[in-house]
Symmetry: C2
Subunit: 690 residues, 2 copies
């Protein structure tokens, strides 16, 4: 068998590169073998691509992985996580502390790689943001990383426009699999990237012609490059993933392309080097098996028995050129930052706040208060005013809608649109592309901005995967979801959300708030803005709802606790409790007046956020919903799932038990039983039964 | 002002066509005006397209709208519903009964059009399948109709392959808006349509350069035609939507294109004819207003005061050519059917069963039974065997996965792949395109087939919009969702479903079943197969679960009722009830043994389907979960949302309170508290507390 010393002769200058590339490959092989789980096929194929990019092009400081102007490398093909872990390890990327400051230890050690896919190891099955420095985003669900990369490239442009190109001009590279090319989210994101002429964005498509079910000919034979040219991208082809010079030429072409994004099609062989599996779907996942590992290492000219071998010089071969470039990059950055601090100290301070994820002092000083008003206004309208008040104080808050800004009330007054010719605009036009909107928002948030995105609540279904990832990554994205129930009226059941509230509430770490009136909406925005470590969805009405008289009812500040006694606080043991969210609070308030008139002691509980409420201590929760009071009516024009917790086994839940219908809102509310009279009747039944 | 009689002179032969087209426009205008809600802009623009297609090309019998070989017209731009309603009305499409037989009354009357968007009217805001004959699918959420159309075109090919091209060769036309072109789902579907060379599929893109936020230049300037050529489509351009002859030439070109789908780009003016709004986003939605209505009608040369006017001859102009074509079409069909009945009576009988949505007698005779086995097998494995047993008996059951067939166990043994060169194949390869998969499945089901689709449960998030529409349309799509919890192990939190179960359970009319072992899985498939009027999701484990000894435990047939007493039925008032679904039943069974050993009378309830259980009468539900027994432990490795209903306020819920992690399944189960010991401890606490 061959060993390293017996490897075929090749130009000496390239030996160490070849060795480094094979180190990545064998680390992936060994890690998957040891875990008996994972995907070595993609790292084996794409090791030269990752290595060439990192070693020769990526502007990245392994000694300061949080350097703000670093190029971003996104492994959209997250199943190839070992490629990223190997690169992080070999480049000697340092770990960081909670404030993103570098620590004097490696982000990923060889020991971590040996613990690939084990409990508590940073080397999870797919790259998990926050587990190790060098992981720019959580990937695995296909298409998401590609979408994130568009957001990051937009952020680079936006930051440059606001703070100066001397400070921000980073490039974003995303390594994509066939699956990334097939998923609709990346199609949407690519179309928008072309529209915005993001020439700082480069996607590398690992064109290996193999998917899990077999050859891509089974389902995927489109001309991807032609499609991307249709999107307005530049397309390049590298015929052999092992041809590092061809790869380098492609990266150089990308670097000088200044009017459009670049797709580099890299033809590769999945599981490269494995004599019996390379180029087949068997190389996609699972351990190769001991014998095939041996044969593969032999094919590389690698010591076949060596495990997790990192030959001398490999760390240096990757890390030193990166550090050399970083030195220049950092010097330029620091000079530019010093100039900014001198010339525009307020912008310098802004950058500091943004980096710390803090809000400016007095960020909430413009927040509106709304006077009591029986006619009231739609919570989407109140939201528009609150959003604008915050946007005025937080310049790095940007966002927009999936072609529904006029309806969702999410335009920042007086701000420019973000377009190719105005990359510093704050009003984003995502087009009718909800899924990409969610993925792009994650990319913006990961770049330090405070993004908001908007659509109708029903279309939250189109963007669940990135919504979930925002929660998993704890990114402060704000979702403005309007038209929140059958109350939207005549557009009918395809547009009337039923199950969407429950579906969002079920996501761990995801804050869902459905405010009941204009002032609760302002408080909801306050919560969302202050929440630096996780996403928040605001669920808002299309229709007007009364603005409650807060001198008569409890303060809207109660919203912060998720649920609070809105009316009837004085009575510790009411006859009945009415519980609702959003527009249905109006029904409960009206019903309570009738019931009180009948001598029935009635408490009204506003419960805008299940998760904020559950975060309160038991004492508080019991003070709002005394366990002894079993007579309860819960009202929400949405699926009942989840409401038993608050209604209790003896309570009554007035909810949607079917899809909606197309009719004026008033007729629908009557038809589906959302009236004050129905609440009164249910409350009477409850009191009678007790 | 101009009136009809004063209209400019034009070739007499065309007068009635122009009048009919303007009738569609004015009906849309009047309906939106009367409802004070809706979208007239698209019908005003696309009336000539709809009219030319229906009048001159669509092979459709207004007297028998369920004719199996009819061409399908899908209004993917569902907000333009008035275009479809006007065409249905003017063509004189007949209503149908529950068995799809034509009735002697119109599907949509002028009165119905006057009741546009009113409660109980078939003319809902967006076209609702089942509300009126002539509506082939429910549309409105953008991209869905486009996706459905691909499924229908596949069905046409599949039916032809199985039953003969003399019986089936229908074309499918989908009218698409800018939004349909932007949504990722249609990108996915178009790519697959190109791959399958569906030359019977024609998309019409209403290229009006206007979206809700303004000009498409804000967010959408890709070269759509180039993109579609990348997908392998033929692309044609019609420069003026009013040029009926150019449209006709395009349809003729489509008709003779036999190797790829066709995209016809139709340049149009939204709100055509409205002097102050046409060509702007103001024409997209909402009533024009009385004065603008008058001016628009004048521009058409229409009596400005006339409301809902259908001039003489218009019904005939549209309906008569359609009926004439239908006569030929029907004669050919009936001859072919007679031949089939004579030569292949079993295929003729099959068509009858399919049309009635019945299963063959003895369809379940091959269903497996599994012997008790402590080691057991994964429910996905059992599912694969059940699926194959049913597929053997139901030839029109076809399906596949989003590139996960080997993992989801959804290959039909011995069947061909469905490919361009084998359109009668039964194993579908959707590629990594979950969203299109869902939309295509709806199209297949709407064409009479019994489709199943498969992916990991986590990726159900990628396909929620069509999943919901299957429920709304009551289509019998079966979703095989495997890898159903942290039990999938090392792929980590991006792949471990948490909230997906609750999110699916919350959809009205959607049957969700998470079977606990191999025999429950068979019963779950039985329910899914028998359910002709709605979708079913099977939630299946990656990991092996014990096959219960049904001589010791209750029969798996209990699954049909959603929940049943698995163990401890003999004791009407147990000390504690353990409730679980899926793999977690194994923990409860083990825990019950320990608890019984301690003298604690323990009932184990298997609750595979909330919705099937809720459909049972109260008596049965109380017999399973006696209200008097408050000591309860519910166990499910998923979000807790919804479980309070069964655990009760005093019970304990062992569920996931966070995202998962990457580690071997055994370690994760331990880490997150899913062990028999944890269940025992919780049960003891419950008994102690009572």
């Amino acid at each position: 068998s061959m060993s390293l010393t017996e490897a075929p002769a090749r130009p000496a200058a390239h030996d160490i590169d070849r060795t480094a590339i094979d180190t990545i490959r064998t680390l992936a092989i060994d890690a998957v073998e040891k875990a008996d789980s994972g995907h070595a096929g993609a790292p084996m194929a794409m090791a030269p691509v990752g290595y060439t990019l990192w070693q020769r092009f990526l502007r990245y400081d392994p000694d300061d992985p949080s350097f703000p102007n670093r190029d971003r490398f996104v492994l959209s093909a997250g199943h190839g996580s070992m490629l990223l872990y190997a690169l992080i390890h070999l480049a000697g990327v340092k770990a960081t502390d909670g404030a993103a400051k570098p620590l004097d230890r490696p982000s990923i050690t060889l020991e971590d790689i040996k613990n690939f896919r084990q409990l508590g190891s940073p080397t999870a099955g797919h790259p998990e943001y926050g587990h190790a420095a060098g992981i720019e985003t959580t990937t695995g669900p296909l298409g998401q990383g590609a979408g994130n990369s568009v957001g990051m490239a937009m952020a680079s442009r936006w930051l440059a426009a606001r703070y100066g190109e001397g400070l921000f001009d980073f490039n974003v590279y995303a390594l994509c699999s066939d699956g990334d090319m097939m998923e609709g989210v990346s199609s949407e994101a690519a179309s928008l990237a072309g529209h915005l002429r993001l020439s700082n964005l480069c996607w590398l498509w690992d064109d290996n012609t193999v998917t899990i079910e077999g050859h891509t000919e089974l389902a995927f034979d489109e001309d991807v490059a032609e499609r991307f040219r249709g999107y307005g991208w530049s397309t390049l082809v590298v015929d052999d993933a092992n041809d590092c010079e061809a790869l380098a030429r492609a990266f150089e072409t990308f670097a000088i392309t200044n009017d459009r994004p670049t797709l580099i099609v890299v033809k590769s062989v999945i599981g490269y080097g494995s004599p019996h599996k390379q180029g087949t779907s068997k190389a996609h996942s699972d351990a190769l098996g001991a014998e095939e590992v041996r044969l593969t290492k032999e094919a590389y000219g690698w010591p076949p028995e060596a495990q997790f071998l990192v030959p001398d010089g490999v760390h240096q071969a990757l890390g030193e050129p990166m550090r050399a470039r970083a030195k220049t990059l950092r010097a330029a950055w620091e000079a530019a930052r010093a100039t900014l601090k001198r010339d525009k100290p307020e912008l310098d301070a802004e950058l500091g706040l943004m980096a710390a994820r803090h809000l400016p002092a007095d960020w909430d000083k413009h927040l509106p208060r709304f006077d009591a008003d029986a006619k009231g206004l739609a919570t989407r309208e109140a939201s528009g005013k609150a959003l604008n008040a915050i946007a005025k104080a937080v310049p790095w808050m940007i966002g927009g809608a999936a072609d529904l800004a006029p309806s969702t009330k999410t335009l920042i007054d007086g701000a420019d649109s973000l377009e190719a010719f105005s990359p510093g605009g704050r009003n984003l036009h995502f087009g009718i592309r909800e899924h990409a909107m969610g993925a792009i928002a994650n990319g913006l948030a990961l770049s330090g901005l405070r993004p908001f995105v908007a659509t109708f609540l029903i279309f939250s279904d189109y963007m669940r995967p990135p919504t979930r990832l925002a929660a998993l990554m704890r990114q402060p994205v704000v979702y403005v979801f309007t038209h929140d129930s059958i109350g939207l009226g005549q557009d009918g059941p395809t547009h009337q959300p039923i199950e969407q509230l429950a579906a969002l509430r079920a996501i761990p770490g995801f804050c869902v708030i459905r405010p009941c009136d204009a002032n609760e909406t302002v408080e909801a925005w306050r919560v969302a803005a202050e929440r630096a470590d996780g996403p928040t969805a605001l669920i808002l009405s299309r229709q007007a709802v009364p603005t409650l008289d807060r001198s008569r009812y409890a303060s809207a500040e109660g919203l912060r606790r998720g649920g609070y006694v809105l009316a009837g606080e004085g009575e510790p043991t009411p006859d009945v409790i009415l519980i609702a969210t959003g527009a249905e609070i109006g029904l409960c308030v009206a019903a309570a007046e009738t019931l009180e008139g009948e001598g029935i002691k009635t408490r009204v509980v506003s419960l805008p956020s299940f998760d904020l409420f559950e975060a309160q201590d038991l004492g508080y929760r019991h003070s709002v919903l005394p366990p002894a009071v079993k007579a309860r009516v819960a009202v929400e024009a949405a699926a009942a799932l989840g409401w038993d917790r608050y209604a209790g086994p003896e309570g009554e839940i007035i909810a949607m038990r079917s899809f909606g219908s197309s009719a004026p809102a008033k007729d629908l509310m009557q038809h589906f039983g959302f009236t004050a009279e129905a609440v009164v009747a249910a409350a009477r039944r409850q009191c009678h039964r007790q």
